[in-house]
């Protein structure tokens, strides 16, 4: 681990800024799902790379915390690696790839498959916090709609999905109602992960850097995905199991193997997949390897 560099304050942001962000977080926790504006700072990375999440993480991070960063469920993609290094360098905190060891997990696209616990905080990087944006572009109007709980428009989008595709074709950033009041955009997580937000023991914080909004789901809060009575909410299903660990109930990524149409499906949560393999679970691809090795 590199030495903490003296020209930076702990976790990069100055203490006043962190106080301001913590105040926004407290308000967000007090009003679950409500988008709290905050004075977002310039971060040493471009918008869209997780500036909102990084600011929230910096504000809640303590020296004894253990940080995990995932992007697309994986710990070793560019975005995850650079944010992990950023905090290792500016806060000198211990980092990990293990979901069970981490106290703070910053994520872009996934909620880990391993259930979270009360001692953990999940920080989401959010590109577009406003679920009504694409149907009602006026920010003044959408804020009023949130204030007056006028959410009929959200169902217009789902209606349009069904009439065009025969089913609700929204697969990510699937709108959900928090604590029976505010409708929120759960960042670009797949709808597969929506049920994990419901009654989750961990605190969930959402930071949008470009739009300068923070919102939150406190622990054990009801989160309901919107749907129709005759078209209930459903999560994605796969016919395949994970090719590496054989898991049947995880979110799978498709991996193209060659230009002959060969492909395989693997868990998107790489830590969960590695854990299962370490426990001796085997998928199709691994079994073949072992058989070859035995011969």
């Amino acid at each position: 681990m590199t030495q903490i560099q003296s020209e930076y304050n702990f976790a990069y942001l100055d203490e006043q800024t962190k106080r301001m962000i913590r105040r926004a977080i407290l308000k967000a926790v007090a009003i679950p799902g409500y988008q709290v504006p905050f004075a977002g700072r310039e971060m040493p990375m471009p918008y869209g790379w997780g500036t909102g999440g990084v600011q929230v993480t910096a504000a809640v991070l303590a020296p004894q915390d253990i940080l995990k960063v995932i992007d697309q469920g994986s710990d070793d993609t560019t975005n995850a690696v650079s944010i992990r290094q950023f905090f290792a360098k500016t806060a000198n905190v211990v980092t990990t790839e293990k979901t069970t060891e981490a106290t703070i997990i910053q994520t872009r696209h996934r909620i880990p498959e391993t259930p979270l616990n009360e001692d953990q905080i999940l920080v989401y990087q959010v590109p577009i916090p406003e679920p009504l944006r694409f149907l009602e572009p006026r920010e003044v109007e959408t804020r009023k709609m949130h204030a007056l709980e006028e959410y009929g428009l959200m169902h217009v989008k789902l209606y349009e999905d069904i009439s065009r595709h025969g089913h609700i074709a929204t697969t990510y950033a699937y709108p959900a109602k928090v604590d029976g009041r505010y409708v929120m955009d759960p960042s670009p997580i797949p709808k597969f992960d929506n049920p994990k937000m419901n009654m989750c023991p961990a605190l969930q914080l959402f930071g949008a850097g470009r739009e300068k909004r923070i919102y939150a789901i406190p622990p054990y809060t009801q989160v309901t995905s919107l749907d129709f009575e005759d078209y209930p909410f459903e999560i994605q299903k796969w016919e395949e199991n994970c090719a590496l660990c054989g898991a049947e109930d995880t979110f799978l990524d498709e991996v193209i193997l060659d230009d002959q149409g060969n492909r395989m499906f693997v868990c998107s949560d790489s830590d969960y997949c590695n854990d299962r393999q370490a426990q001796g679970h085997r998928g199709e691809a691994n079994r073949e390897d072992e058989m070859e090795a035995a011969q």
């Binding site: 007056l148 009929g152 169902h155 209606y159 069904i162 009439s163 749907d227 129709f228």
Partner: protein
């Protein structure tokens, strides 16, 4: 049948100022259930300002707008009602038909979703029922069944206007505001639309406030007429009476300007 206790909408001394300039001034009228009131006048005479005020879009500078609500008796639109109540009224009991259908439609979603929006806004959550109602309304405004899933941008101007009307009437409103509903349509399409509107108004017993500069439209649809000039009502009365025997010089000018075919 007509008594003051039956008045649906009562407007008293309504004045709307834009800074020092007058939008409309000292306008008063009553609207009874099932009645169609036409407001005519040239551009800039304050017709649209008046319509925007009485439909709850902007608060007047002073004056009262009393509406007989379904549940809570007569209430003033701005002093007697909170904003959520007013907005709820606007999307359930009222309808507003814009001159340009693009202002009143959601162009990026299908015709069905456009008609269904108000239903979903009042809490309907059954896709099949919403779709069936939308289909039914499409038929009522004479648009072919198979266009239900098409975008409004693929519709002709006349169809868009009819779709806008269907979208507005789906919650069975009691009061409809129309701002030049036939403007921008060619004459044969206008005639068809007017026919349709007259039928709907009669069948559903709607009360209508219709703003137009087209006296032919006014004569065809409205029972009573108000003539506006420079923000003031200069003459009002039964439509035939006003058009056949105009008293005010401006009304006389207006009537004599109609081209005789």
């Amino acid at each position: 049948m007509i008594g003051s206790h039956d008045v649906l909408l009562n407007v008293e001394n309504l004045t709307m100022m834009y800074g020092a300039r007058v939008g409309c001034e000292e306008v008063s009228f009553d609207l009874w259930p099932g009645e169609v009131l036409g407001i005519v006048g040239e551009s800039g005479s304050g017709k649209s300002t008046l319509l925007r005020c009485i439909s709850g879009q902007v608060a007047p500078t002073h004056g009262a707008i009393n509406y007989k609500t379904r549940a809570n008796g007569v209430r003033d639109l701005f002093t007697g009602m909170s904003e959520p109540e007013r907005r709820f009224l606007m999307r359930t009991d009222w309808a507003f038909v814009h001159q340009n259908p693009r202002d009143g439609l959601r162009m990026s979603v299908s015709a069905g979703a456009n008609i269904g929006e108000r239903l979903m806004a009042v809490g309907q959550r059954h896709y099949g029922n919403i779709r069936a109602t939308a289909q039914d309304w499409l038929g009522k405004v004479e648009i072919a069944d198979e266009r239900l899933d098409d975008l409004p941008s693929t519709f002709s101007g006349g169809m868009q206007q009819r779709l806008q009307i269907a979208r507005n009437l789906v919650t069975s409103p009691r009061l409809v505001f129309m701002d030049e509903p036939t403007g921008g349509l060619d004459v044969s399409v206008q005639a068809k639309l007017l026919d349709l509107l007259r039928g709907l108004v009669q069948d559903l017993g709607l009360s209508v406030v219709i703003v137009t500069h087209d006296l032919a439209v006014a004569r065809l649809l409205s029972h009573r007429l108000m003539v506006m000039q420079q923000g003031r009502v200069v003459e009002s009365g039964l439509t035939d009476q006003v058009l056949d025997d105009p008293q005010h010089p401006y009304t006389q000018l207006l009537v004599s300007s109609i081209l005789q075919a």
